[in-house]
């Protein structure tokens, strides 16, 4: 079987449509409207998800579809990590126990896919109704297993913690018990996945500070790229709120969470500047 599968080689049926991330990032429409006197900030990203807003249910459906395809890619990514690396001590090898963790994650992600399919049905969403971007799997293509786990498990599964927590709150406020409980169950698993990333980062780079710094830099890049143009933040009105407590449970230090909050702010400013130019 082929090793290091590329994102465009992922198998999807005719219902799914791939969206180019570059096109999405370069969409000038997202910064064309002033919000609360701040020009150049995406209006789509500046609205807190609340059942009181007219488009909330469609926004929730779109977000949950994004989570669903993310679950598929997380399954594919963890599965590839089991296969792509041989057991051993070099930088291109992994301990057998890491493979066991990835196998457990595959089990979790499979369950999340099934939950997400049922949840989509509940929310009135057709599978493939929204475009799929392959950014999670792209992060899972790194040739260094430590960078792969840092980018996927700590950065993107960390983002999943924030999104699941936000959606769980949305379900609670809307009185939607199905959404609330589905999010709660998946959130618990995500905390474990992020903790795996944190633990393996520390164990595998214990005697190699340069490799650890490379991994953390990769995480910073991924975190900043997927701060969703400033949608993720710590304010009460942030569309996706940083789930500080859950991140602590997942092995993040306070300083690391502060850094992610700072990166989100930088990402918003850079997006505004880039698209205004």
């Amino acid at each position: 079987m082929k090793k290091l599968l590329q994102p465009d080689e992922l198998a999807r049926d005719a219902r799914f449509s791939r969206v180019d991330m570059a096109e999405r990032f370069n969409d000038k429409r997202t910064v064309n409207r002033d919000v609360d006197g701040e020009p150049g900030i995406s209006s789509r990203n500046q609205r807190r998800l609340s059942p009181d807003t007219p488009g909330a249910s469609d926004a929730a459906r779109s977000l949950m579809h994004g989570i669903f395809v993310g679950e598929i890619q997380a399954l594919e990514g963890a599965g590839r990590t089991c296969w792509d690396f041989e057991v051993g001590a070099g930088e291109d090898k992994v301990p057998f126990e890491l493979k066991l963790d990835m196998a457990r994650q595959c089990w979790d992600e499979s369950r999340h896919c099934e939950i997400s399919i049922k949840l989509s049905e509940w929310m009135g969403t057709e599978l493939g109704e929204f475009g799929e971007s392959a950014f999670l799997f792209q992060a899972a293509c790194n040739a260094d297993p430590v960078l792969r786990l840092t980018g996927v498990n700590r950065a993107l599964e960390g983002l999943a913690i924030d999104v699941f927590n936000t959606m769980r709150e949305f379900g609670k406020v809307a009185g939607d018990p199905v959404l609330e409980f589905c999010e709660d169950w998946m959130l618990a698993d995500e905390v474990t996945h992020v903790k795996m990333g944190s633990d393996w980062l520390r164990r595998l780079t214990e005697d190699n500070p340069e490799r650890r710094e490379r991994a953390l830099e990769f995480q910073r890049v991924v975190d900043k790229l997927f701060s969703l143009g400033g949608a993720r933040g710590e304010n009460d009105d942030s569309p996706i709120k940083l789930a500080r407590r859950f991140r602590e449970l997942a092995g993040f230090t306070n300083e690391e969470v502060d850094e992610i909050a700072g990166l989100a702010k930088e990402a918003a400013e850079e997006l505004a500047a880039r698209q205004a130019s």
Binding site: T30, G124, G131, D176
Partner: protein, 186 residues
Amino acid sequence: MAKVTVDPTEFHYVKFDADTIAQLVGEVADLVGLPADALININIDESTPLGRTVLTSTDPITLSIEGGAFENAKAPRELSERSVRDVASRLLFRVSDRLSGRFDDAPPEGEVPLPHNVAWDVHSVGRSARAGINVSKPRRLYHFRNRHGFNDVADAAFETLWNADQLSWAELDALVTEVAAAKTPA
């Protein structure tokens, strides 16, 4: 067929075609049953990916559309003919209601409370489905439940709204009041 004008006639942020939109809206107007000599203006704000849609006027009929409402969710910036039909039929059934006299008691557009707006949309989209337009009932049900509650009373009200052909404002208001009572804890 109704005469439809689309503003702008050329798009720069999105890959929409004004003639296609005009043709689709004209066909939908016929399905809704608007007079063949009706004038319909479609004003599109292509600078936003958001999807707000507003019936600005019934004389002349004017729909204000944020570009995201006509966009293909699978392909950013591309036109979705299904979305055009969905949005246009929902708003044109509302025009038809307002012109019928049955909704003379309704507040003006912009002042219709959100729960009533959501209920009215269900009434419109149900008729769109029966007119042969490809709409999503589960999507509307979820939207309705988010606004009116996840309970049997709300679901029954949804079915009434969906299946009715000619409700009045008073009947719609009564249904909204009934589901609000069921949602509020005793």
